[in-house]
């Protein structure tokens, strides 16, 4: 399927850089365009990493939640068991994104209970998750704008 997604993103970035940017007024509009091209380049470089990150994030969050079950009230424990019993097709991005959001929502609900046991497995797994997540996250907070000229 050519041009591939990566080829399309790279091509659009080239069009903006080579055709549009030289014609844009200097100052704020040019600065914003450089930022937009930088964001497009970052997306082109990392978009293929997103499914693997989502799958890892869902599973690592599920591990924290499983360890937290003994600390949770019945309703929340049942919700966690139910969420952890499902799996999603890793190429179905929309479902994976929804599932990630659901699992992180459950972790927020479980947080008060997890924090009551700072020496417990759930707490340890949660801090490990947060630390590793910051390393695995596919994107920097803000993309580097492309250089002038």
């Amino acid at each position: 399927m050519r041009p591939t997604v990566a080829e399309q993103l790279a091509g659009i970035s080239r069009i903006l850089s080579e055709i549009v940017a030289p014609e844009v007024a200097p100052g704020y509009p040019a600065e914003i365009l450089r930022g937009a091209i930088g964001a497009l380049n970052a997306l082109g470089a990392r978009w293929t990493d997103i499914p693997a990150f989502l799958a890892w994030d869902i599973e690592a969050t599920a591990n924290v939640l499983r360890a937290a079950i003994p600390l949770l009230d019945t309703t929340l424990a049942d919700a966690v068991r139910d969420a952890c019993s499902h799996s999603a097709d890793p190429v179905d991005w929309a479902t994976m994104e929804a599932r990630q959001e659901h699992m992180r929502g459950l972790l927020v609900r479980a947080m008060p209970a997890i924090l009551t046991d700072p020496d417990g497995d759930a707490h340890r797994l949660m801090t490990e998750l947060f630390s590793e997540r910051s390393e695995r996250f596919p994107f920097q907070m803000s993309a580097q704008p492309v250089k002038k000229g």
Partner: protein, 328 residues
């Protein structure tokens, strides 16, 4: 857009300066600053047959920002500080409800000077950089030493009572207002901050975003403290937590000779205020919560189609915040 702003500004200044023939030139939006639109221009007008010209800057609320603040409060704060010991921009006119420029704005004098956010680690010899650091953070101490009641700042800003609780309530409220998705890392930090709140040491004016990038310099002198939009009454340790936040060490420190301990010692000697390390650590964590919140606000604005650059989850800030908590 520039033509429309030029027309609106001309009409506004004609009224304020009592000259229907007022002339504006050189109007352009600068790329500096993420939170407000900054429009620089020169105006010329006549009074009693004499021609005047002056450089101005208009700060207008953008459609979408990384920070929600009130121009009325910023204007009132700067007006109250006009003749105090701390050098601040001279404010001229306020458009509180956007009747003049379409969105709330203020116009202030544009001052000469260089804004260099990495001035402490630039090309100057280290002795000069250390002297600049002393001048810079002495100005921060001077802000904390202002008699805010005598200046009438309590008519513009609200004394917080419990400053830590007020700050935490503010930023947690902001998270609830803008969050796009569950944020467990933020929730963990908020829970820790809630459990470990320090008592207010003293209530002072707090700048809220003090950094080398928010001052103007002429040569090695600090001539103006800029960007007062997050100024408030609170605990001065909030500013100390902000400038000693490890996330911004590259801007605030000179390795080996101007580290956090030097800054805190000098500030404490100049102000006479205590600098409890545990309280500063708490405010360090809050500083990262604030930094993370500007990103969350920006993400929301981008998704809503109101911000012109992409921001992603601030996972590195989350990590630093949690490392600070673990080390506490």
């Amino acid at each position: 857009m520039t033509e429309a702003i030029a027309r609106q500004l001309t009409a506004w200044l004609a009224e304020e300066l009592h000259d229907p023939a007022v002339h504006i030139e050189g109007l352009c939006r600068t790329s500096a600053g993420y939170s407000r639109e900054n429009w620089v221009f020169d105006a010329s007008w006549q009074t009693d047959g004499k021609t005047h010209s002056w450089p101005f800057i208009a700060r207008r609320d953008p459609v979408g920002s990384v920070l929600e603040t009130d121009r009325r409060v910023e204007f009132g704060t700067l007006a109250a500080l006009a003749d105090c010991a701390v050098p601040v921009p001279r404010v001229r006119w306020l458009d509180a409800d956007g009747a003049r420029l379409g969105r709330p704005s203020i116009v202030m004098d544009r001052a000469e000077g260089i804004c260099d956010y990495l001035v402490l680690n630039g090309d100057r010899p280290v002795k000069r950089r250390l002297a600049i650091a002393h001048r810079l953070y002495d100005r921060l101490a001077d802000i904390h030493l202002l008699d805010w009641r005598a200046l009438g700042l309590d008519k513009v800003l609200v004394p917080p009572g419990d400053a830590a609780a007020a700050a935490l309530d503010l930023w947690e409220g902001e998270l609830r207002r803008v969050q796009l998705e569950p944020e467990p890392e933020m929730e963990m930090a908020i829970a820790w901050l809630r459990r470990n709140k320090p008592a207010t040491s003293v209530t002072t004016l707090v700048h809220g975003d003090f950094k080398p990038g928010n001052v103007l310099m002429q040569g090695d002198e600090v001539t103006l403290i800029l960007d007062w939009e997050t100024a408030h009454l609170g605990d001065p340790l909030e500013d100390i937590g902000w400038v000693t936040n490890p996330l911004r060490a590259g801007e605030h420190s000179i390795p080996g000779i101007w580290e956090c301990s030097h800054l805190i010692d000098r500030w404490s000697r100049r102000t006479g205020f205590a600098a409890d390390p545990a309280a500063i650590r708490w405010w360090n964590v809050l500083a990262n919560l604030k930094q993370a919140m500007t990103v969350q606000t920006g993400r929301k604005s981008f998704v809503d189609g109101r911000l012109n650059f992409v921001l992603h989850a601030p996972v590195r800030i989350y990590r630093l915040m949690l490392e600070l908590i673990e080390a506490a």
